[in-house]
Symmetry: C2
Subunit: 385 residues, 2 copies
């Protein structure tokens, strides 16, 4: 059964410290409902991606809580968690629910409230996405993990700090024109390289910020869309998902992300396309090195060549394959359990021709969402009319 | 596509304070693998039900972590959370994944480690399943919530403490012969009523214990089972899931559980059967009152009549509809994110004719799993050969 996107919307990502998860989720859902004739009562299910509500707001059971808050009290509801890939996993479970025939209309959303806690608490919470025994308790948190990957990549492929920094420069530039992005400030390569060190070789602007936000996508079956005369033009062409060891030390290599390779391969096969068919992509750039590894895992570049994307302008808005036109996690922000849903919101806008950084003739789009340092990856491919 | 149970197994529920979640999950998975020719490499996905790993073990991202730990490193993996219905929701998502065609073989498991934390911490963690703003912060935790439901039920239907206690007596009696149950000790009505008060009118033996444990079910498509020549006899006849307000105050009534009524109605319709067709059931008896409300919501008794089940022996092992032959949450234990999977393990044994409390001629079985005080409910109906 074909699945289409009936509506998709996000709050602004950034600091919403006067808000609660239910308020943020409600805001995004209301925006999505306002753009479609589907109402809360039409929803068979509400799936919620969230990573740290238990730790920040003492609130679990977000599926039922948020379904009720948006007026869909009776819908089947669950929370889906795969660390920072929670959003992408939520989208995929919603798509599978429709393909199974169990649901016609599912609201797949994500919400994360991070800024209300102090930074040590947020760092602790984020560390739950790593292997507690073999990583956290040894003092290794995510900046350190990605620094190891970056350092090794620089060594293996003679990449420079300045080249890596180009990813941040590009994504921050894209964020400037995205009103929903957390930052609207251009950065130079020098500013990135000379920003505060967080885990050598990575500096502050190599890393995504702490972000609050919510995003939702209402996904429906083709049949439901036709019956309700919905104005939908974006369809799901394919999905893929794969996993890997959570602890970096247990991986076969640290400059490749095999889970992303497998997820992409499955999604391309599901969609019946190749990497060459992708017109625009949102990839998981929690750190600059992560976008570079993503470009390689997704088949856009050979190993060691991904760093070229931003340096040569190939992944810029006017490049051959624009990547992270939203600003990405670096510029748009990274409310962790939301990001995979937010990518779908951004790509839906691209395929509907209404993105603030519109890519001309965008017809096929790809979203790549990673949990931890690569242990969970989802890839979703969307097609426009 | 029809879905069948290839294998299902549980650890003993109880205190495993020298263990970790990964070890417990591994133990249950190994038992399940030992009973089938399916190995970890055959799994397309690993779905994990867990509620409080973030709070007890500083460990999220359990999907990928546990998939890897059981040798299925590359499988699509997610954690599913719907409070105490996490297990039931995990089973249902696994079934939908197979019905969608995206997977042929899914290991749906649950794990919970609770006893390693002190009881105040566990109570706090459990409270995350309630509405933090409108319940927890007002001082209302689960014993109090269920006490309100019990008190109102006693008032509306002239039920007595002794009648409610009969549920605990029955389930503890069933647990005596279940080697995987946490308790193997018969109780009398007097012992239940005279045990320590926890939230009047409920006493200690009206409540389930704090439990560690893991359960897994390997669910596969019919086609996969045939291709692999698997010896399977238990099939999924139907599933249903619905939600309700998380906060008790927001419900239409507190002596009914409408989410369970809707989930049951959907599952019966999906299976093409009626409550009369059920031969054996595992229902969510976190407190004695919960089993009584479950019997009514599932259509086995009229409102106000559910209390009769245990009192008259109708739900006993030799009654017209044996309920919680495992010992239920009261006697078998309640590792919260596991329970819904554990119910499937117990019912699979019943339908395969190898349960320690075997019900003669059991052909159709029902599992009912509740999150919070009724905000999430899943119902799964299984059929034997």
């Amino acid at each position: 059964m074909a699945v289409t996107i009936a509506s998709a919307a996000s709050t602004k990502y950034g600091t919403h410290s006067e808000s609660s998860s239910r308020e943020l989720f409600g805001e995004a859902a209301l925006k999505a409902f306002n753009d479609t004739s589907i109402g809360p009562n039409d929803l068979d299910a509400v799936y919620v991606g969230n990573f740290m509500g238990d730790l920040i707001e003492d609130q679990g059971h977000m599926g039922a809580l948020l379904a009720d808050h948006i007026g869909a009290r009776e819908a089947a509801s669950v929370r889906i968690e795969s660390a920072c890939a929670s959003g992408g996993a939520t989208i995929r479970q919603a798509i599978l629910a429709i393909e199974s025939g169990a649901a016609d209309a599912v609201l797949a959303g994500g919400v994360e409230l991070m800024s209300v806690a102090d930074i040590e608490h947020v760092t602790d919470a984020l560390a739950n996405a790593a292997d507690d025994i073999y990583e956290n308790e040894q003092g290794l948190t995510f900046p350190g993990i990605y620094a190891l990957m970056a350092r090794r990549y620089m060594h293996e492929f003679d990449a420079t700090r300045e080249e890596m920094a180009a990813v941040s420069v590009k994504n921050h530039a894209n964020a400037v024109d995205n009103p929903l992005a957390q930052f609207q400030k251009k950065l130079s390569v020098e500013e990135v390289v000379e920003s505060k060190p967080i885990a050598t070789p990575l500096t502050l602007y190599d890393a995504c910020p702490v972000s609050d936000g919510a995003s939702v996508a209402i996904v429906v079956s083709d049949e439901f869309a036709a019956k309700q005369s919905l104005d939908t033009s974006v369809t799901v062409l394919g999905t893929g998902q794969s996993s890997d060891a959570v602890a970096l030390q247990d991986r076969s290599a640290i400059t490749q992300t095999p889970a992303a390779e497998r997820a992409a391969e499955a999604a391309y096969e599901d969609a019946g396309i190749t990497p060459d068919d992708i017109d625009v992509a949102e990839v998981h750039d929690c750190f600059t090195i992560a976008e570079i590894l993503a470009l390689e895992a997704l088949g856009f570049y050979e190993p060691g060549e991904g760093v070229r994307g931003a340096v040569k302008g190939e992944t810029a808005l006017d490049g051959s394959l624009p990547v992270n036109t939203s600003g990405g996690l670096l510029g748009k922000g990274h409310p962790v359990g939301v990001t995979g849903v937010g990518q779908i919101v951004e790509l839906t806008k691209q395929l509907e021709g209404r993105h603030p950084n519109q890519v001309a003739d965008a017809e096929v789009a790809l979203a790549h969402n990673v949990g931890g340092s690569g242990a969970s990856t989802t890839v979703t491919i969307l097609g426009g009319a």
